[in-house]
Amino acid sequence: MRILTFAGRNTKEILRDPLNLAFGLGFPLVLILLLSAIQANVPVKLFEIQHLTPGITVFGLSFMTLFSATIISKDRGSCLLQRLYTSPLTPVDFILGYTLPLVPIAVAQCVICYIVAIVLGLKVTVNVLYAVIFIIPVSILFIALGLLFGSILNDKQVGGICGALLTNLSAWLSGTWFDLELVGGVFKKIAYALPFVHAVEMERAILAGNFADIFPHMWWVLGYATIALAAAVLLFLRQMKRQ
């Protein structure tokens, strides 16, 4: 009951901010439409709808990091968290209360992207459903990063780190906008040492029905999600103790 109340409050705070809706939903959709228009005029395999959509759904999750980090850093700054720390809410309530509301939002964002992609010509198969289901562990990774950054940064820093840096990193290093083979070298090695390109390739494999190709990408995603979540919990508890 307590956790649901707290999670409900967080959901309302996120969804009532028009900027969140504009960026979280509007921006990925604009990208799908824009890159599909480019693809219609200058065909590029990378921007074919079945290649593009998984990349956009993963990129869209970087906004979940921003939402998650922003709400936590603002609650810290306004002392609302300090007030709630003196209530019967437990550390588990706080962590789940900040994490759980973003999972359905992430799934909804992914579903909307796929609906638009279907309108633009993506073939409707059961694999679309699997791709939506497998976005959940990827969303946990991005939400955990938000919990982590929100625990150590103030809301202005969150805007810079999550709003600018992370969205760009997750875009450039994901292989969505350009083929990483074209750059190669250290850039490609760095990209493959991070989880973003693995999340995109896992989603592409699922959508294509090549389930054997999910691996090893899924291990990378699950590994990073576990590490990010553990680090986020530790840092959140640390700042809670420091209060």
């Binding site: 307590r2 409050r9 705070e13 306004s78 609302l80 007030r83 209530s87 019967p88 209060q243």
Partner: protein, 242 residues
Amino acid sequence: MDAIRLEGLTKKYKDVIAVDNLSLSVRQGELFSLLGVNGAGKTTTIKMLSCLTQPTSGDAFLNGKSICKDTAAVKSLIAVSPQETAVAPGLSVRENLELMCGVHGFTKEKRNTKVTELTERLGLETVIKKKAGKLSGGWQRRLSIAMALVSQPEILFLDEPTLGLDVLARSELWDMIRSLKGKVTMILTTHYMEEAEALSDRIAIMKDGKLLICDTPDKIKESAGTDLFEQAFIHIVKGAAE
């Protein structure tokens, strides 16, 4: 009976002693103020008493419960209205009160009763549907105190409750705080001398984490040999530095 008893309460941060061997007691229903210049240790004292930070040594007992050994019991007795307004800006006034009812595990029926009661008691009827983030500073402070009262605390900590408010809003908030006197034990920290003098039953003046004096406003003025409380405060704090 004492609502709060501090016994050698001390907090050290590396080389800095924020609160130094503080011992005092607060009676039930009393409005007790902590006064001091910046860095005196007022907020650290409140943080320790509200179980937000652990003391380095010493202990304090709130209605007989130890802040070191019985944190859960202490938390059930207290509420805090922090220095910042500490409201959820995207929620309406009603939703903010419902949030606090929810985190305290109230049933729907009890929640509705409590929201109605606090809305009337704190005069929030006119703003009940407004988003908290859109309210003026005075209304936000009022809501902040209402949120703290949701759990029917026996002890209420008010950390700089009128900071940044205009004269009218401050006067209204004073009336509201006065209306709680006798029903709830209140610990108030403030920088405003006239606020401490007007509201408090007793005042403790702190400097560098140490308690300099603890008495009624009149006795403090008497001991400093002046009729003005502000002068008495300056006299005592400067006297401690010499």
